[in-house]
C-alpha cells in the first residue's frame, strides 16, 4: 500500500510541476509572440476582444500583472480548459480542436505501441534464447537498422511506394474526404485503411527498443542459477525459455513501457504530419508551420499529461506483476 501511496503523491507532484513548467517556459523565452499571435488572429478575421487578448497574454506570459496573479489565472484557465484561440483554427477554441484530434492519436499510438511491444518482446526472447547464433545476429542487426530509421523518413518512403506508386493505400488524411467521423462500420473500415501506413511506420521504428531490452534481459536472466537449475532438472527448452527466463526478464520491459511512450509520441508527431493524419501530432505539425503558440503550448501540456497518466497506470499495474512491491 505504501508503494501505491508514494506513486499517487509523486503523480500529483509531477502533474503540478509539469503544469508549472508549461507556465514558466514561454516566460523564459526571448521576444514577444503575443503581437505575432494577435496579428495572425486579426488577419484570420477574428475580432479581438479584450478577453481574447487577455487569455493569449496570460498564456504567453505578458507581464501585465504580478507573476503570482498571472500564475493563479493560468491555473484557473487550465482548470476550465481555456487555452485561448489558435490562429490555425480560429473558428473553434483550442480545447475543441484538441478534443477532436485526441481520439485519433490515442487509438493510433495505443494500438501501435501494444503491437510493437508484443512483436518486439517476442523477437527479443527468441534472440536472447538463441544468442550468438545466426537468428540472434539477424534479429539484432535488423532491429538496429529499423530502429535508426527516422520515422518521418520511413513514412515518406512508404507513402511514396505503397500509396503513390502502387496506390494500395490512401495518400493522406484519417478518412476519405467528404466522410464525417461516425461509428458506422463503413467509416471505421475507411479509417482503418487510412491508418495502416502511419501505424506500420510507427511499429517498425519503435519495435527495436523492445527487442534490445528484452534480449539483454533474457541473457541476464539466463545466467541466473534458477534457470540452470531448471535446465538441470531436464525441463523442456520451451518451458525453460518461456516459463522461467522470459517471465522474469519481462519485468524491466514493463517498467520501460511508460517511459518509451515519449519516443512514440515524438515519432507520432512527425508521422502524423507526413500523412496529414487528423491527430494531435498532425496538429503540432500545423501549429509549428503557422507559428501558432497558443496551440503549441496547449499541445505540450496534453502530451505531458497523457505521458504522466500512462506512466501512472503502468506503475499501478506493476503492483499486480511484481509481488515484491506489494508491501
Amino acid at each position: 500500500m505504501r508503494y501505491v501511496l508514494r506513486k499517487v503523491v509523486l503523480f500529483v507532484l509531477t502533474l503540478w510541476a509539469a503544469i508549472t513548467l508549461n507556465f514558466i517556459l514561454p516566460r523564459l523565452m526571448p521576444g514577444s509572440p503575443v503581437d505575432a499571435a494577435l496579428g495572425k488572429l486579426a488577419s484570420a478575421g477574428v475580432p479581438i476582444t479584450n478577453a481574447e487578448r487577455n487569455a493569449i497574454e496570460i498564456q504567453l506570459g505578458v507581464p501585465h500583472s504580478g507573476l503570482l496573479t498571472q500564475y493563479l489565472e493560468y491555473l484557473r484557465n487550465i482548470a476550465t480548459l481555456r487555452f485561448g484561440t489558435s490562429y490555425s483554427f480560429p473558428s473553434q477554441t483550442v480545447a475543441q480542436t484538441i478534443g477532436k484530434a485526441l481520439p485519433w492519436t490515442l487509438i493510433l499510438i495505443g494500438a501501435t505501441t501494444i503491437v510493437a511491444f508484443i512483436i518486439g518482446t517476442l523477437l527479443g526472447v527468441y534472440a536472447g534464447w538463441h544468442r550468438g547464433r545466426a537468428a540472434d545476429s539477424s534479429i539484432t542487426i535488423g532491429a538496429t537498422f529499423f530502429g535508426a530509421f527516422p520515422p518521418f523518413w520511413l513514412g515518406l518512403l512508404l507513402l511514396y511506394l505503397l500509396a503513390f506508386r502502387y496506390g494500395w493505400f490512401p495518400i493522406k488524411g484519417g478518412f476519405s474526404p467528404g466522410a464525417s467521423p461516425n461509428l458506422s462500420l463503413s467509416f471505421l473500415a475507411d479509417a482503418l485503411r487510412h491508418s495502416v501506413l502511419p501505424a506500420l511506420t510507427l511499429v517498425i521504428t519503435t519495435m527495436s527498443g523492445w527487442v534490445f531490452g528484452m534480449r539483454n534481459n533474457m541473457i541476464n536472466t539466463l545466467g541466473e542459477d534458477f534457470v540452470t537449475f531448471a535446465e538441470a532438472n531436464g525441463l523442456r527448452d520451451r518451458t525453460v525459455a518461456l516459463r522461467y527466463a522470459a517471465r522474469n526478464a519481462l519485468l524491466p520491459n514493463v517498467t520501460a513501457f511508460g517511459l518509451s511512450l515519449g519516443a512514440v509520441v515524438g515519432g507520432a508527431v512527425l508521422v502524423e504530419g507526413v500523412f496529414s493524419y487528423p491527430g494531435v501530432g498532425g496538429l503540432l505539425f500545423i501549429a509549428v508551420t503557422n507559428h501558432d503558440f497558443p496551440l503549441m503550448q496547449a499541445l505540450l501540456l496534453v502530451f505531458t499529461l497523457s505521458m504522466l497518466v500512462a506512466i501512472f497506470i503502468v506503475d499501478l499495474l506493476y503492483v499486480r506483476l511484481d509481488p515484491r512491491v506489494r508491501t
Partner: protein, 313 residues
C-alpha cells in the same frame, strides 16, 4: 620516506586483468593512453568494430568534404528539379543545387550536432547523476524528481516548441535544445550506479584516508563508470542526430545550412517524391540511418564492456 610502488593498483577491479598494458605505451600521456585502450577494447567486439569503421568513414567524408564534393553545395547554377545525371549524380534541388555535394557537406552538421549535443547532455547527466548518487537525502530526492520530470515531458514536442520560440536558428541553438532535452536517462543510470558504489570499501577507505570530496567522486567513483558514461554519450548522440534531422525537417533549423535534415525539408517543400526525385529523399535519410546505426553498434560494444554476460563468446 616514501613508498614507491612499481605499478599503481588498478582503478577498477578486473580492468587490469582484462587489458594488458603495453610497456611501449608508458611514454604516451595518460588520457591518450586511456583512449587508445578503450578503442582497442571496443575494436575487439565485432559489432562495435563495424560501427567504428562506418563512423570513421563518415568523419573522413565530413573532414574532406571540399575535396570529395564535385560542386559547391550552395551554388544554384544547375537546372532545377533535375533527376540524376552524369554531372549531378543525385539530381538537383528546386533551387538548382547539386544534391550529392549537399549530402557530402551535410555530414559536417550532423556530426557536429550529434557529437556536440551528446557531449553536453552527457556532461549534465554525469554531473547531476554523481551529485544525486553521492548525496542521498534531500539533494537526491530533489534531483531525482527533476530527472523524472524531464523524462516524463516528451522530448521531441518539447524540442519543437523550444526551437520554435528560440528563433536564433543557428546550429548551436539546436545543439543546446537537444542537449537540454536528452540528459535525463543518463543521469538516472549514473545516479543509481554512484549510489551503489558509494558504500563500497574502496570509497569508504578513500574517504577515511582524508581524500577531498572532489577527488573521491572524480578519481575513485567516476573511473568505475566509464562504460556507463560512454553509453550515455553514444545514446544521447544517436538521439541528437535524429532530433536534429527532425527539427530541420520541420523547418525549425536554419534553412541556409546545408545538412541532411534541410535536404529532406526542401525535398518535402518541393514535393520531390511526387516529381519522381526519390533519391533526394532516400539518400539523406539513408545517411542519417548509417550514422545512427554506427553509433548504436559502438554502444553495443560499450554495453558488453560493462556487462560481461553480453560479451560475444
Amino acid at each position: 620516506m616514501t613508498i614507491i610502488t612499481a605499478m599503481p593498483p588498478p582503478e577498477s577491479p578486473g580492468k587490469a586483468a582484462q587489458i594488458p598494458s603495453g610497456a611501449g605505451l608508458q611514454a604516451v600521456p595518460g588520457p591518450l593512453r586511456f583512449l587508445g585502450r578503450a578503442l582497442r577494447t571496443l575494436w575487439s567486439n565485432g559489432k562495435a568494430r563495424a560501427g567504428l569503421i562506418v563512423l570513421g568513414l563518415i568523419i573522413v567524408v565530413a573532414v574532406f568534404a571540399p575535396l570529395l564534393a564535385p560542386h559547391s553545395p550552395t551554388a544554384t547554377s544547375f537546372t532545377p528539379y533535375s533527376g540524376p545525371t552524369g554531372v549531378n549524380w543525385f539530381g538537383t534541388t528546386g533551387n538548382g543545387q547539386d544534391v550529392f555535394s549537399q549530402l557530402v557537406y551535410g555530414a559536417r552538421v550532423s556530426l557536429v550536432v550529434g557529437l556536440g549535443a551528446g557531449a553536453v547532455a552527457t556532461f549534465v547527466a554525469v554531473t547531476l547523476g554523481l551529485i544525486a548518487g553521492y548525496r542521498p537525502g534531500i539533494v537526491d530526492e530533489v534531483l531525482g524528481f527533476v530527472t523524472n520530470l524531464a523524462l516524463v515531458v516528451p522530448a521531441l514536442p518539447l524540442m519543437i516548441i523550444l526551437a520554435a520560440y528560440l528563433q536564433g536558428r543557428s546550429v548551436w541553438t539546436i545543439v543546446l535544445v537537444v542537449a537540454f532535452t536528452s540528459w535525463a536517462t543518463g543521469a538516472r543510470v549514473i545516479r543509481s550506479q554512484t549510489s551503489t558504489l558509494r558504500t563500497r570499501e574502496f570509497v569508504t577507505s578513500a574517504v577515511f584516508s582524508g581524500e577531498r570530496l572532489v577527488r573521491v567522486v572524480f578519481r575513485e567513483i567516476l573511473p568505475n563508470m566509464t562504460s556507463l558514461v560512454a553509453a550515455s554519450f553514444f545514446s544521447a548522440a544517436t538521439a541528437a542526430v535524429l532530433a536534429e534531422a527532425s527539427l530541420e525537417f520541420l523547418g525549425l533549423g536554419n534553412p541556409d545550412t546545408v545538412s541532411w535534415g534541410t535536404i529532406l525539408y526542401y525535398a518535402q517543400q518541393q514535393n520531390a517524391l511526387l516529381t519522381g526525385q526519390w533519391l533526394m529523399v532516400f539518400a539523406p535519410g539513408l545517411a542519417i540511418v548509417l550514422l545512427m546505426v554506427s553509433l548504436t553498434l559502438i554502444n553495443f560494444g560499450v554495453d558488453a564492456l560493462s556487462n560481461p554476460r553480453l560479451r560475444e563468446k
